[in-house]
């Protein structure tokens, strides 16, 4: 029996030996040199920026469009133009551009000497190829251009022209999402058994784990379930801040305990935006860690079915809008969120601030309800609210809504519904419930993005619209706005559309979502924390503008 105990002790010691044998590595101050790299300087610590994201990440710019993918595009690739906080575009790879008076032809003049990561020069051929590839594949951000860009034309090596199918006013705003790939490199890696004819798989398999970009960073290692590791591209044509990171790592985890541990050990610089209120509080309590709040125009709506009783009555809808306790929602349930004024986020380019500012006012709610045809029969006209099961916090809002409606005599049934079922329901006018609660993000940095995707009839059977508005006047106004090339005129039309929607009240616009990140305030300098934020998803993670000071780490 003593032998058994001896064996147990030895086995217990083995892992301890492994721990301490490895711990010896911590004594070294110099960074480890990989076999193929040249020896690093003995003293200077590596500047690395590590960020957690919700996975998966697709680094092919014709495939991905979620937050982590978009953030990777910003670092791996260039676009013709670069977004600004006001929503306007500034030169990037294109130094200037012009459109024909009717908006049917757009010409971009390219900067000379822009290098791809493999040393090739970026020319108009690559730009045309990138657009054709994006439209043909149709995934990711392809929807912004499919049906709008008829063809791409290479005028000369530094001039590219896009011929439009219809005038498209926001084209310059959307072209931010046209990321430029090296045509030769992509074609060198196509698989012939793909579905795109002569282009095979269009390089999709290769671009899962490689890049063909010209951006400030290039792929060093991509592990599909773990992380994306990018390293600085020293021949980049653009600006780098002096202490920009040498390496950027996107880590695919949102587990609160893991993130808290990594933050405390200074193994993580920025957290993802999916941390709960409680997790953010505990992160904030770590010395040197602060929380930054960003607004990217994502709105939280109670989408009301305008063709189904009792929400088919405008007074009934307005009564509900006046009865909600917005204060509790903003202060307790989603702290940091911004009160909505209309269907577009406040401050978003093209937002009309002169709309009804709903607050909890039971007198006004009752006045509106009395004008409703269902006033005398509320008991037999309950409202069914479907909230998304994958977002537990929505239940709290739904319960509050139920309680608030009871104050004015409206009966509410709340139903927890998985996202896949919600999408299916919203595809059918009869299956859609009275109200669905959904977060919707804009596609591009203009009010028209949300207005068009939310209220045009073509989106009536998609997850972005439960209202089934199908209003020909709104449709016509939206089509006019989108076709208007002049930005000021277009924004003016957006303002009129928002006013009309304000009168119709098809949605309860609860708030603009706050996106919160924990970050290492003690040793990173992140422009998103101060100054204007760019309302285009991913651009606040442009690593060349984030400065890292490893010497300030504890």
């Amino acid at each position: 029996m003593k032998k058994v105990l001896y064996i147990l002790c030895i086995l217990l010691l083995l892992p301890a030996f492994a721990v301490f044998a490895g711990s010896a590595e911590k004594q070294k101050k110099a960074p480890e040199v990989k076999e193929e790299a040249t020896p690093a300087p003995a003293v200077e610590a590596k500047r690395e920026l590590r960020v957690t994201f919700s996975w998966p990440t697709y680094i092919d710019p014709s495939v991905g469009s979620d937050f982590s993918s978009s953030s990777s595009f910003v670092n791996l690739y260039d676009s013709l133009v670069y977004p600004t906080p006001s929503g306007a575009a500034k030169p990037s790879v294109a130094t200037k551009w012009e459109s024909s008076p009717d908006g049917m032809v757009w010409t971009f003049y390219l900067r000379k000497g822009v290098k791809f990561h493999n040393g090739d020069e970026l020319t108009a051929e690559d730009v045309a190829f990138s657009m054709d590839r994006l439209v043909t594949i149709g995934e990711g951000y392809g929807y912004l251009f499919a049906g709008r860009v008829k063809r791409s034309e290479v005028v000369d090596p530094y001039t590219v022209r896009f011929h439009m199918a219809t005038p498209y006013g926001p084209f310059l705003t959307t072209v931010v999402r046209l990321y430029l790939l090296n045509k030769d490199e992509v074609l060198a890696h196509v698989k012939s058994d793909g579905t795109y004819g002569e282009f095979g798989d269009y390089g999709k398999a290769w671009l899962l784990t490689h890049d063909a970009g010209s951006g400030p960073y290039k792929v060093k290692d991509m592990r599909l379930e773990e992380y994306l590791l990018m390293e600085r591209f020293d021949d980049y044509w653009g600006e780098f801040k002096p202490n920009a990171p040498d390496e950027v790592k996107y880590i695919g985890t949102t587990e609160p305990v893991t993130i808290r541990t990594m933050m405390a050990r200074q193994e993580l610089e920025i957290s993802d935006q999916w941390q709960t209120v409680e997790a953010l509080e505990s992160l904030d309590a770590i010395e040197g860690v602060d929380i930054v709040t960003m607004y990217l125009g994502t709105m939280f709506y109670y989408m009301m079915h305008t063709k189904k009783p009792p929400t088919d009555d405008v007074h009934f809808r307005k009564a509900m809008a006046w009865a909600i306790d917005y204060g509790t929602v903003l202060n307790n349930l989603f702290p940091g969120s911004r009160m909505a004024v209309g269907p577009v986020a406040p401050g978003f380019p093209g937002h009309n601030p002169n709309l009804t500012k709903y607050t909890r006012n039971l007198d006004k709610a009752k006045q509106e309800l009395k004008l409703s045809k269902y006033y005398k029969d509320l008991e037999n006209n309950p409202v069914e609210v479907h909230w998304i099961a994958e977002v537990p916090d929505e239940e709290k809002v739904a319960l509050l809504f139920m309680s608030n409606m009871a104050d004015i005599g409206i009966k509410v049934n709340i139903v927890k519904t998985p996202w896949m079922s919600v999408v299916e329901e919203m595809g059918n006018i009869d299956m859609s419930p009275n109200i669905v609660t959904v977060f919707v993000a804009p596609h591009f940095a203009e009010a028209g993005s949300l207005l068009d995707s939310r209220y045009h009839s073509k989106s009536a059977n998609t997850w972005e619209q439960n209202e089934w508005l199908q209003d020909p006047v709104i449709d016509s106004m939206l089509e006019d706005a989108i076709a208007t090339i002049d930005m000021d005129e277009r924004f003016e039309t957006y303002g009129k559309i928002q006013k009309k929607l304000d009168d119709l009240c098809p949605s309860i616009n609860l708030f603009e979502q706050a996106q919160k990140h924990a970050y290492q305030a003690s040793y990173i300098d992140w422009p998103a924390v101060y100054g204007d934020k760019i309302p285009v998803m991913g651009y606040d993670f442009d690593a060349r503008f984030i400065q890292v000071y490893p010497e300030k780490k504890k």
Binding site: L8, P15, A18, V257, T261, M420, V423
Partner: protein, 336 residues
């Protein structure tokens, strides 16, 4: 053995039919989910045709089976590459983790059970009992979180995430087991580092089943201690140590081995929360992700792998048990 293998094929076929059909009746359009809500309908329709989703379900199954028999499980809608490539990458990571877990739970589980039986109703037995109850009642992910906080944060002596430290390179992958491949490559640094990364997730997964095995071993040994042949051996002055190790343990660990096999195979499915906590790029976590994304091809492939694992492990357990107690093997042969 041949009959067992033949039966296994039918079991796997039946499993594939069941999973295939269940996956397809789940709500949601996999093509739309994969391409995103804003992809044009024409693109989505083309994709549905490529996945044969526009065909009757039995035709879809035929296409799937035809591909699977050639090792082609189709494309993953989640990772956007071949499912076979995904399995090739993620399965060894989970297998390495559960092998490590299996070693811990079998060795320590049996040793603790033996110690507990030897010192029955004395303090070592009581300590093991308390530990067993804690282990059985506590889910693996709770242990994972506790270890992460204790060893990763407070003591800061073990790495928090992944299979290997960022400053090290992966060795040339032969088996997919970083520990073995690093030894084959002669890179001891990577070996120790990979071992360190295994400790927390491995322990988290092992503690529950280890406690269970300790209890089963203790119970079995205690029961067998009352048998006549033990009394006979004691009367013949055979040392107690020899009785325990040579005669008693052999028959007493049969139920433990049976349960060990089931626990080992189950880890392939249970490990996903631990893999999430430690950002372990394994098959279990991949399996949950593909289910949430209604990735039809990957769902069937993952469940088939788990099913195959159960079958293989059960066969191995039967062989081991037959070796431990020849009466079982002979009894089975006589009944044919």
């Amino acid at each position: 053995m041949l009959r067992r293998l033949a039966h296994s094929i039918f079991v796997l076929l039946g499993l594939s039919v069941l999973v295939f059909f269940i996956a397809r009746v789940m709500p949601g359009d996999p093509a739309r989910m994969s391409l995103g809500p804003r992809a044009p309908e024409t693109v989505v329709q083309k994709f549905r045709e490529e996945l044969h989703l526009d065909k009757p379900i039995y035709v879809q199954y035929y296409y799937w089976l035809k591909g699977a028999l050639q090792g082609d499980f189709g494309m993953s809608l989640f990772t956007k590459r071949d499912v076979a490539d995904d399995i090739r990458e993620f399965f060894p990571a989970t297998l390495e983790l559960i092998v490590f877990t299996g070693i811990i739970m079998s060795v320590f589980g049996i040793l603790l059970g033996v110690a507990s039986a030897r010192y029955a109703n004395r303090w070592p037995d009581n300590v093991v009992r308390v530990f067993s109850y804690l282990g059985i009642c506590t889910p693996a992910y709770v242990f994972g979180i506790l270890f992460l906080l204790l060893f990763g944060y407070i003591l800061n002596i073990l790495p928090t995430i992944g299979r290997i430290s960022p400053i090290l390179n992966y060795p040339r992958l032969v088996t997919g087991f970083l520990t073995i491949d690093s030894l084959l490559a002669g890179d001891f640094r990577v070996f120790w580092d990979a071992l360190k990364h295994l400790i927390m997730p491995g322990l988290a997964l092992a503690l529950g089943p280890m406690a269970q095995e300790a209890r089963i071993t203790r119970s079995s040994m205690t029961e067998n201690l009352q048998r006549d042949f033990i009394a006979l051996e004691r009367s013949q002055a055979i040392p107690e140590r020899r009785i325990m190790s040579r005669y008693l343990m052999r028959i007493s660990i049969i139920p433990t081995v049976s349960v060990l096999g089931l626990d080992f195979a189950s880890q392939l499915g249970w490990a996903f929360l631990v893999e999430l906590i430690f950002n372990w790029p394994g098959l279990s976590r991949y399996g949950i992700n593909v289910m949430l994304h209604k990735d039809l091809n990957a769902i069937v492939a993952v469940i088939m792998i788990i099913g195959l694992m159960f079958l293989v492990v059960n066969i191995i357990v039967d062989v081991i048990v037959g070796g431990l107690d020849p009466r079982i093997r002979l009894g089975a042969e006589r009944s044919k």
